[in-house]
C-alpha cells in the first residue's frame, strides 16, 4: 500500500486544514446580516471554527429559570452530538424553535458541519406546550413575548438558505484546496528537482575526481616512460657520435651518412622526450625556474640567429623589431628562450616560400587579473612588462581552433596524414611556461593571412625578490 504525498495530494482531512478562518468568518457574518439567524461552523472533530450568533430573548429568559437552563443545556448538547452520518438534521428545541445541522462534505468525505438556528419555523402558529411547561415558575406572557422576537423562517426557505450556504462553503473549500495543493506541489516539485540536481552533481563530482586521478596517472606515466626512454636513447646517440668521430675506425662516406642520420633522428627523439618530460613536470607543478634578469633584445636576436639558416633554405625573410627602452625581464633564461624558439619554429613551420617572420619586443603594462575582473578598474594594479611578438604570414588558424591549440596533444590538423609533424605538446608547454613566469599569451590570426602570437612577461614576478 502506498503512503506519503500521493494520498495527501488529493485529500483533505478537515475544513481547518485548508479553509481560511477569516474568510469563513466573513461569510458567516454576511449570512447573519442577511437572514438574522445565528450560524456556527464546526470542524470534523467538533472544534468550533466560526460562530456568529445573537442571544435570543426567549433563550435569555428561560436561562433565568433553573429547569429552563437545564432544558436549554440538554438541547445544545444534543445538537452538538449530531453525527456526521446522520445527514441533514432538523433538531427541535423545547421553545418551538429549530436548529438545522448540515454536514459539509468534500470529495465525498465528511469534513465538518454547520448549524443554523435557532429560528422559529414560520409554519408554527401555536405556542408549544414544552415552552410553557419547562419550568414551574415560568411566566407564560413573558415567554410568549420573548418568543415573538425570534427570527421566523419558513422551513422551505431554511432548506434553501442551508443549501446556498453549503454551496458557498464548498466553493471556498474547492479554491482553498486548490491553492493548498498547488503550494504543496510547488514545494514537492522544487524538492524533487533539487534532489535530482544533487544526484547529478554527485555523479559529476565523482566523474571529475576520477578524471583527475586518470590525469595524474597519465602524468606519472609520461614522466616514467620519458625517463626510461631517455636512458637507451642516450646510448644510441653516444655510440653513433663515437662512430662518426672515428673511434671505432674510419667509416666510408655512405656509412658516415647513415650513422649521422641515426644521430640526428636520435637527437630529434631526445628533444621530443624532453618535451614530454617538461609537460608532465609542468602539469605536476614540479618545474623549477632559475630566474635571472634577461635582456629582451638579446633574447630576440638569439632566436633570430637560430632560425635564419632554415628560413633562408625555405625562402622566408626574418625581421627583428626591438623597440627602444624595453625593460629587463626576470625569468629563466633557458625557458624564455624555449618559449620564443618554439613559437619561432612554429612560425617557420607554417610559413611558405616568400613569406615573412617578424620577431619583436616592446615595453608594455599588464594587469594583475587580466584587467577584466569585478572592479578591475579600481583594484587591478598595472605593472611594467615586456611584450614579445612573433608574427608570420603563414596559413593562419581558424577562430574555433584558437582556444584549443594550447591543449596538450592537440593538432589543428588531427589526421594521421597531416603535413606537419610534432607531438602537439609545443604550445601547451609554451603556455604553461609563460604562466609559470606570471605572464600571458594571446593570438591574433586570420586564415590565409597569418598569425601573431603576443607573449607578455612581467618585468618582475610578484613573488620575485632580487
Amino acid at each position: 500500500m502506498s503512503e506519503g504525498l500521493d494520498l495527501n495530494l488529493g485529500d483533505i482531512d478537515g475544513l481547518e486544514q485548508v479553509i481560511d478562518r477569516e474568510a469563513l468568518a466573513e461569510v458567516c457574518r454576511s449570512f447573519f446580516d442577511l437572514f438574522g439567524i445565528s450560524i456556527r461552523v464546526f470542524s470534523r472533530t467538533g472544534a468550533l471554527l466560526s460562530d456568529v450568533h445573537e442571544e435570543q430573548a426567549v433563550c435569555r429568559y428561560v436561562n433565568t429559570l433553573s429547569e429552563g437552563r437545564r432544558a436549554c443545556g440538554t438541547t445544545v448538547t444534543e445538537v452538538k452530538h449530531i453525527g456526521a452520518t446522520d445527514g441533514v438534521v432538523v433538531h427541535p428545541c423545547f421553545t418551538g424553535a429549530n436548529y438545522r445541522v448540515v454536514p459539509i462534505e468534500y470529495h465525498s468525505r465528511h469534513v465538518g458541519r454547520f448549524v443554523i438556528g435557532p429560528y422559529l419555523p414560520a409554519e408554527r402558529t401555536e405556542i408549544p406546550k414544552t415552552l410553557l411547561t419547562v419550568d414551574p415558575n415560568i411566566d407564560a406572557d413573558k415567554a410568549i413575548a420573548a418568543l415573538g422576537d425570534m427570527p421566523r423562517v419558513r422551513e422551505e426557505t431554511a432548506l434553501r438558505i442551508a443549501h446556498h450556504l453549503r454551496n458557498i462553503v464548498d466553493l471556498i473549500l474547492f479554491s482553498s484546496h486548490r491553492a493548498h495543493l498547488t503550494s504543496e506541489m510547488h514545494v514537492a516539485s522544487v524538492r524533487e528537482s533539487y534532489r535530482e540536481l544533487a544526484e547529478k552533481n554527485d555523479a559529476l563530482q565523482s566523474a571529475y575526481n576520477r578524471l583527475k586521478e586518470l590525469d595524474q596517472l597519465k602524468s606519472n606515466f609520461l614522466a616514467t616512460v620519458s625517463h626510461e626512454l631517455r636512458t637507451p636513447l642516450t646510448s644510441i646517440i653516444g655510440y653513433s657520435e663515437m662512430l662518426t668521430s672515428g673511434i671505432a675506425g674510419d667509416l666510408n662516406e655512405e656509412q658516415n651518412e647513415f650513422v649521422q642520420t641515426i644521430h640526428d633522428k636520435g637527437d630529434h627523439l631526445l628533444s621530443l622526450i624532453a618535451s614530454l618530460l617538461d609537460a608532465s613536470k609542468l602539469e605536476q607543478g614540479q618545474l623549477t625556474l632559475n630566474r635571472v634578469p634577461l635582456d629582451a633584445g638579446q633574447l630576440i636576436r638569439s632566436v633570430v640567429t637560430t632560425i635564419i639558416p632554415n628560413a633562408k633554405k625555405k625562402g622566408i625573410a626574418v625581421e627583428s623589431q626591438v623597440e627602444e627602452g624595453v625593460p629587463t625581464v626576470i625569468g629563466d633564461s633557458i625557458r624564455i628562450h624555449q618559449i620564443l624558439q618554439n613559437l619561432a619554429d612554429n612560425a617557420l613551420k607554417f610559413t611558405t616560400k616568400g613569406g615573412t617572420i617578424i620577431l619583436g619586443a616592446r615595453a608594455t603594462e599588464m594587469m594583475d587579473d587580466d584587467g577584466g575582473g569585478f572592479g578591475a578598474v579600481l583594484m587591478a594594479a598595472s605593472k611594467p612588462a615586456v611584450e614579445f611578438r612573433i608574427e608570420d604570414t603563414g596559413m593562419g588558424i581558424a577562430q574555433d581552433q584558437v582556444e584549443r591549440i594550447f591543449d596538450a596533444f592537440y593538432q589543428v590538423d588531427g589526421s594521421s596524414t597531416r603535413e606537419h609533424g610534432g607531438a602537439g605538446l609545443g604550445l601547451s608547454i609554451v603556455k604553461r611556461l609563460i604562466e609559470a613566469h606570471g605572464g600571458s599569451i594571446r593570438i591574433e590570426s586570420s586564415v590565409g593571412v597569418g598569425t601573431t602570437f603576443f607573449v607578455t612577461i612581467p618585468e618582475a614576478p610578484d613573488t620575485f625578490d632580487l
Binding site: M1, L5, D6, L7, L9, G10, S108, R178
Partner: protein
C-alpha cells in the same frame, strides 16, 4: 490504494500519462461530462496561463458498493511537457493503474515512445515495477488526418499485452471504455495483492458492475481492440 476503516472507504489512484497535448486533461473533462452528478466531484485543474497542465488535474469519483464500503477513485493527469519530469514522478507515486494516452498522429509516434520510456523510468524511480503496473493504452485523436490506421493499431494491439482503446476525447468517444478497462485491470491487480473480496467483501464483478452502472456505461460483450 488506501483504506480508511473509520470512514469505511477505499481510495484507488489512477493516473493518465502521456506526451504533451495528447489529450489527458481532455479525457478527464470528458469523463466529468459523462458521469452522473452523484458519482463525481469537481474537476480540479492546476494549469498555466496557456492552458497547459502545470502540476496535474484531479477528478474524484465515488461509487457505493454492496459491502457498504465506499469506493473512491481519483483520476490524475500528469503534465506532458518534458521539463516537468519531477512533477510527473511525484504524481505517479502510489498509482494503482495507468492509462497511457497516445496521440494517433503519425508525427507524434516518437513523442509517444519518449513519454512511454519516461513513464517506465519514473515508475522504477518510484519503486514500482512497470511490468506489474496495470496499464491500458488509448490512441486518442482518431478524428484527425494522417493518423496511424485502425489496421495498424489492431496489429500492434495483438502484439502487445495491454488492452488498446481508440478514442476521440474531445467528443467523449472511447473515454469511458478506457476508464472502465483501466479500472478492471487495476482492480484485478488490487484483488491479487490485497484480497479485497475476502477482507472487505468487495466482489470484483459486483464492484465493476456498479461502477459501470454509475458511470452510465452500457455493458457490452465487446472488449477492447
Amino acid at each position: 490504494m488506501q483504506v480508511d476503516f473509520t470512514a469505511r472507504e477505499l481510495t484507488v489512484k489512477l493516473v493518465y500519462y502521456g506526451p504533451a497535448l495528447s489529450g489527458k486533461t481532455t479525457n478527464l473533462q470528458a469523463v466529468h461530462e459523462l458521469v452522473s452528478e452523484d458519482s463525481k466531484g469537481r474537476l480540479m485543474t492546476l494549469e498555466t496561463r496557456d492552458d497547459r497542465t502545470l502540476f496535474f488535474d484531479l477528478l474524484p469519483l465515488t461509487f457505493n458498493s454492496k459491502s457498504g464500503l465506499k469506493v473512491r477513485v481519483k483520476l490524475f493527469t500528469v503534465p506532458g511537457q518534458v521539463i516537468h519530469s519531477a512533477t510527473r514522478r511525484l504524481v505517479l507515486q502510489g498509482a494503482d493503474g495507468i492509462a497511457f494516452i497516445a496521440d494517433s498522429q503519425r508525427s507524434e509516434t516518437k513523442a509517444n515512445q519518449v513519454a512511454f520510456l519516461d513513464m517506465q523510468k519514473n515508475l522504477r524511480d518510484n519503486g514500482l515495477d512497470p511490468a506489474k503496473t496495470p496499464l491500458v493504452i488509448q490512441f486518442n485523436k482518431r478524428d484527425l488526418p494522417d493518423i496511424r490506421t485502425d489496421v495498424e493499431l489492431d496489429a500492434l494491439a495483438k502484439r502487445g499485452r495491454e488492452p488498446v482503446y481508440k478514442a476521440v476525447a474531445v467528443r467523449g468517444t472511447g473515454v469511458l471504455e478506457t476508464l472502465i478497462g483501466l479500472l478492471e485491470r487495476s482492480w484485478a491487480q488490487l484483488e491479487t495483492e490485497h484480497g479485497l473480496e475476502e477482507k472487505f467483501g468487495l466482489v470484483p464483478e459486483e464492484v465493476l458492475a456498479e461502477v459501470r452502472r454509475q458511470l452510465g456505461a452500457v455493458e457490452t460483450e465487446e472488449g477492447p481492440q
